[in-house]
Symmetry: C2
Subunit: 351 residues, 2 copies
């Protein structure tokens, strides 16, 4: 099998309006009118054009169309998330996609892996493709590079974390209040030594949750103890180590507050490995699948991801529709889900 044999290996490239027009015996502009649903075309000609288009397998070229069109819209929005594979990002992507679909738009996704350089690169790549707008879960702490894009008319909404050095819309969860709720819940169960295990404090959401933790302790007149606090980064292994470490202290915590998904799961693993899952109370930030099926079930502060994503996408499209009002940050409340682990009382077992 060398190369010669394929006989009807057709033109190799996509048919254009010109070819459809030629086949239908009309002007190219008429084909354009047909595909844009302009009503002032003779039905007989519409039929002829459609037939010719079908025969050729013609599909309009939206990139050419958007280039020529007045508004230059591409009916495509960009979405930058931490990692398309993680459940939080995936759920967010899906809700944004749903809103976009209603508006006839598609979504270009990119994963940042918490790398600010990647954020810049991918944001540029999206802008170079002239997406109509951007939904960003930012990795970096300096978004001034987007100022000129914003001025050039690219709409953008930040999600989960607010923009820095840039004035733009944002939709975030109430991280601080969520953390306060979690810690209050543990305090109510009688705990006085509550450990904090969380992501790196440079990540703004982690910082807010940590702030909530400190605030709740302060209100309860409990002295802050550095030994009970570990900013581990988002990794199960590190969380396992940190959990083991705090539980091995001379005066160990009776309760854990873990402020991020993977940290929560690491803590769950460590507690089970130590056989302490029924004696150490535990509330995690972020819900996760099967949290209810473990024993004890893991109590969590759940974010309303659907509402966050939906709100963000709707904000973006409102901007695209011409809303010029001042940039806002919308805060979406979290809620506590009691499943057992957070209800273990100090100095005793859960029922």
């Amino acid at each position: 099998m060398t190369q010669g044999e394929a006989p009807p290996r057709t033109p190799r490239s996509r048919p254009t309006m010109r070819e459809v027009a030629a086949l239908a015996g009309v002007a190219i502009k008429t084909v354009s009118r047909v595909f844009n649903g302009v009503p002032t075309v003779d039905p007989a000609i519409v039929a002829r054009v459609r037939e010719a288009a079908d025969k050729l397998g013609y599909r309009p070229n939206l990139t050419a169309s958007s280039l020529r069109r007045g508004d230059g819209r591409t009916a495509t929005i960009g979405m930058l998330v931490e990692d398309a594979a993680n459940p939080f990002s995936a759920a967010l992507t899906r809700t944004v996609e749903n809103v976009a679909r209603e508006r006839g738009s598609l979504v270009l996704v990119g994963s940042l892996d918490e790398d600010p350089a990647r954020e810049r690169e991918l944001a540029q790549a999206l802008i170079d493709r002239r997406v109509d707008g951007l939904v960003i879960v930012p990795a970096g702490r300096d978004h001034s590079y987007l100022i000129s894009e914003q001025r050039s008319g690219t709409c953008m909404v930040f999600v989960d974390r607010e923009p820095s050095l840039l004035d733009a819309d944002a939709v975030v969860s109430d991280n601080r209040q969520g953390a306060i709720t979690a810690v209050d819940h543990l305090l109510k169960a009688g705990h006085r030594r509550i450990a904090y295990l969380g992501d790196r404090a440079t990540i703004s959401t982690a910082a807010q949750r940590f702030d909530g933790y400190r605030h709740a302790l302060e209100v309860a007149h409990i002295a802050y103890d550095d030994e009970l606090v570990h900013h581990t980064g988002a990794s199960e292994e590190a969380a396992i180590d940190a959990t083991r470490h705090v539980l091995a202290l001379p005066d160990p915590p009776t309760a854990l507050f873990t402020s991020q998904n993977l940290v929560t799961i690491g803590a769950v693993r460590a507690l089970r490995a130590l056989g302490r899952q029924h004696s150490v109370a535990h509330v995690g930030f972020d819900d996760f699948p099967l949290a209810d099926i473990l024993s004890p079930g893991i109590s969590v502060i759940a974010q309303n991801i659907e509402q966050v994503g939906k709100t963000a996408a709707e904000m973006l499209f409102r901007r695209l529709d011409g809303d010029e009002s001042a940039a806002t940050t919308i805060t979406v409340p979290t809620r506590l889900i009691e499943r057992g682990s957070g209800e273990i009382r100090a100095g005793g077992h859960h029922d």
Copy 2:
């Protein structure tokens, strides 16, 4: 606040090469050369152009570029999955994105929700945006509508399920062999009555897994019993019902083979609700997070999603690079992960 106040609300539209050229005092083509890294430009002019571009916040318009360019490539590929939010699709998307990124491409995603009409619509939407290629986890059973697109030069690779009525590349997991392995494993543990709970049999992967189940039983000379088989669809609730139902039979199964993720989780829930999780053996198809942390841990047939996604993306890019060889289907092996639930012996408890 009516409308008049914003003072330097600049041009509102993006600067073009023309404007950069004007500011730098060169021809538009020279700007083009600079941004394309053509070496035959005086370094002093390069610097002047770059400076002008920076001052204006110029970013090249890739859609215009790809329109004019010979190959018409958009450096964008399309990816259609079942649901961007589910872990399988999300993991797949991410591996494809990784390969695409190396090639300077971005990924447009769309969720099909098992709806063939949506598959068509979204495939068309992607093609209308002139993606360079398509990675599809198909929802429908008739892909002939893609024949003309394929002939027009759009490359496509099917993932997880093979194309029907279309000759195209595919990358799939070895569903049948995986199911055989699962059932064999249960047979080895002494089980003779093994229930099958799975997705609708119209879904090809489900059909293949069911086929593996039947084959393994046949080889073991175990009569097929219709009562032990439920094609529930991919829903936890339905799986819970089906599990309860088979376990309530006069001659109930001693082991379950669940052929899909949500079905597996439903079965897990049902077994726990009945307190039977330590007496009924269980192997699921598809791994899921925290399967190891349950007790017993859930034994599964794990797909190698990363390899599937990577292989598919690489195939696609090989086609884009001009590979014209005949369409192939690549089968990626699965592997059994023993965690406890699948090792429960017939008529007894696991160690």
